[in-house]
Symmetry: none
DNA sequence: TATATTTATTAGGCTAGACTAATTTTTAAA
DNA sequence: TTTAAAAATTAGTCTAGCCTAATAAATATA
């Protein structure tokens, strides 16, 4: 994690972040056009910025392979993502913000610069592993847990999925799962999302209908069917 | 407090803030040169920005009277100061940052935009009245009136008080405080005032006795218990 | 393979916000 | 009141980061 101390501009940081995300999303070739679309700006602008970031050794670019973050560039991107997700936890848990509100504020907070900030915040929040949207929070050393899809964040009404894991492993949660007859492999259909409190109505297996809370849904790791 | 919802640029916000501070410091005529000095930039740049802010109805400017914040401009400035000081409290109390470190980070955090942010943060912190440097935190409605009490000026022999802030934030002073084991919240009893040189004998916590100078005592902001 | 289409790149503009240098206005001193 | 000094203003540059339009290159299709 060297060189994170050299301040990047807001714009540079946003480019690094978006490239990181595109990569994480599995895009094999990250092109200027793809970046422009993700940033909602112009490919010509992107080409300029790519040059600048290559110059700064934060990116590599070969027209055949597209854009790739260097180690240094990746470290910066991961730190931004880490800060973003930590701030989201803070806004939700400490300031009582809602689910939908935290992202936009975290977009601003993720750019706050100070060497120890992320680690101090992390500690203050009790070293959370996931942000309120179910995305894993990179650790201080930059490791990112596998990105899970959760019932809450990744499923839409009418979709079918299969339970592949749980995030929370507390007895209380596991017991509740047992009661609902949900286990690894159980098929679930999302019937209705209730925006008010992010709860949802689901169909468990073929016949059992249940209404489950936001907290429940974000702890259920699923694969879409 | 109307119109705070129209986003200002970072630079605009910094101008409004500095003008607010110059006014608070008692500068009767706030000139382009004074602003340029405070911002460490060029008077020519300041003239440009003044025009822009007058245009936006955030400032009034008459060459004879200098610059003045409009109601709207002042509301924005106060909110920035409020956010700055609240974030300083957060950084010190929740993240464990030192006195000297919080200012620079708060300079960044004060620009985070969200309607409810200041109020939510305020509530989360327990509605603090002072920031760690002893400056009063403007209330939600923009009042900044509170004059602080110092150990020197406002305490009498036998009285108990609690340290709420410091005025001087020089390393020398902060180091001395550390040595005496005085921090935010430390309880102090005034045992004896020595009229000769305005020094005083105090009891720090339960057992530690110390004699402190006038200069020391006037830099310690306290609340009477 | 030749052609059409999509993508990348270059060239040239634009705006915000800074700067320098030159000029005008204001203030202070003789 | 005249002159000297300081402050304000104007004019013209510069950079970052965006834009559009034009061109070049790559990819896909006939």
């Amino acid at each position: 994690m060297a060189g994170l101390n050299i301040m990047q501009t807001l714009s540079e940081e946003n480019y690094l972040k978006i490239i990181y995300h595109l990569d994480k999303q599995g895009l094999k070739k990250i092109t200027p056009t793809a970046i422009a679309e993700a940033l909602n700006n112009n490919p010509a602008s992107v080409v300029d910025m790519i040059k600048k970031l290559v110059e700064k050794k934060l990116l590599q670019y070969e027209k055949t392979k597209g854009v790739k973050l260097t180690e240094k560039g990746k470290d910066i991107a991961v730190l931004i993502v880490r800060k973003h997700r930590l701030w989201e936890v803070f806004l939700l848990e400490k300031l009582g913000y809602g689910w939908e509100e935290v992202h936009d504020i975290a977009e601003q907070l993720e750019h706050i610069q100070h060497a120890e900030l992320a680690d101090r915040l992390d500690k203050f929040l009790g070293l959370p592993k996931y942000d309120p949207h179910g995305d894993p929070i990179p650790t201080a050393s930059g490791e990112t847990a596998i990105t899970y899809k959760t019932l809450l964040a990744d499923m839409d009404e009418g979709k079918n999925c299969k339970v592949v894991a749980v995030k929370d492993t507390s007895p209380a949660f596991l017991q509740y799962l047992k009661k609902l007859d949900i286990g690894i492999g159980t098929k679930i259909q999302l019937i209705e999302k209730i925006p008010f409190d992010n709860s949802m109505v689901i169909l468990i297996g073929k016949t059992t209908r249940a209404t489950v809370s936001k907290i429940f849904a974000e702890n259920l790791v699923v694969n879409e069917l």
